[in-house]
Homo-oligomer: 189 residues x 2
Amino acid sequence: MGRWEPNARDRLQRAALELYSENGFDQTTVADIAQRAGLTERTFFRHFADKREVVFWGEDALHELFVSAVADAPDSASPIDAVAAGLEAILSYFEPITRAAARQRQAVIAANTGLQERELSKYSSLAEGIADALCNRGVGALTANLTAMAGVAVFKVAVEGWIDGTDGRDLSQHIRESLGELKALASGG
Amino acid sequence: MGRWEPNARDRLQRAALELYSENGFDQTTVADIAQRAGLTERTFFRHFADKREVVFWGEDALHELFVSAVADAPDSASPIDAVAAGLEAILSYFEPITRAAARQRQAVIAANTGLQERELSKYSSLAEGIADALCNRGVGALTANLTAMAGVAVFKVAVEGWIDGTDGRDLSQHIRESLGELKALASGG
């Protein structure tokens, strides 16, 4: 077996999520994952620090895409429009992810308290990153924090709608709907 | 020492937060807390399951106040108005809490990853409770989830503003401002 296997990361991630889904996260070992992927434990640890990282791998890229797009929005964009640009930018991250894979991953997280806490903490960091980017655009702290949290809420609701959806609408449509809903709810008060 | 000490819960909670603040959460033992409060470890465990519960004690009451008020809002209230009623209802929970005590508690949480995760999970449960209450009012799932998360964001931002504030405005003023800001940001897009 060669030192650098083709697509090792993808194979390991797919194997891990299958096993977490079949047997539970806590019950799965790195040895199980390596075996299912036809690779070695050493190869696993060249790609991931631990079992948990497999579930959240790539999230840093998503964070970066979202926050950069907020920062780079035109000066004339309102806070909510800058966040909308961030929501638009992350679509490229989801491009290669099938709905079935996203659904499997979400079910794995939902079944494990530690993974749920980790996910909440990722969302919280994302909101902080967006709020910082808005502050750097000259937006006041209150508005920045609130807009960032509302933007993350739009994102969460849209991803859930996409994963649970049966009508075949894609994520961009769910994001548009969810963003429109945020604007409507606020004006309906 | 009598079996039922007067104000034992308050004394223990105050002693615990002082010690967490002075020495760190991980470095403080239940024995330390009992000693500082002039009570026994047995008394501590009659009031709290563990060290962590001291930090979040009372949060269930807050959750209940918020969610009940959303459920009991007039039928004519829009989703955001029902959430506004919830935000109004929790003010009574904060009535006896001084800003200095709230600030001390927040600093203790900010200094400990486990407590931060616990707090995020409390906020997430609160949002779920509010969303369920809105669904029971006949609000669709997307709007219910989004309004609930936006309401929790308003709450978080208002409490932070109150804790950090130097102008003496009370929590109700911060909540009003934060809610107004939510409405403004959504209409500004």
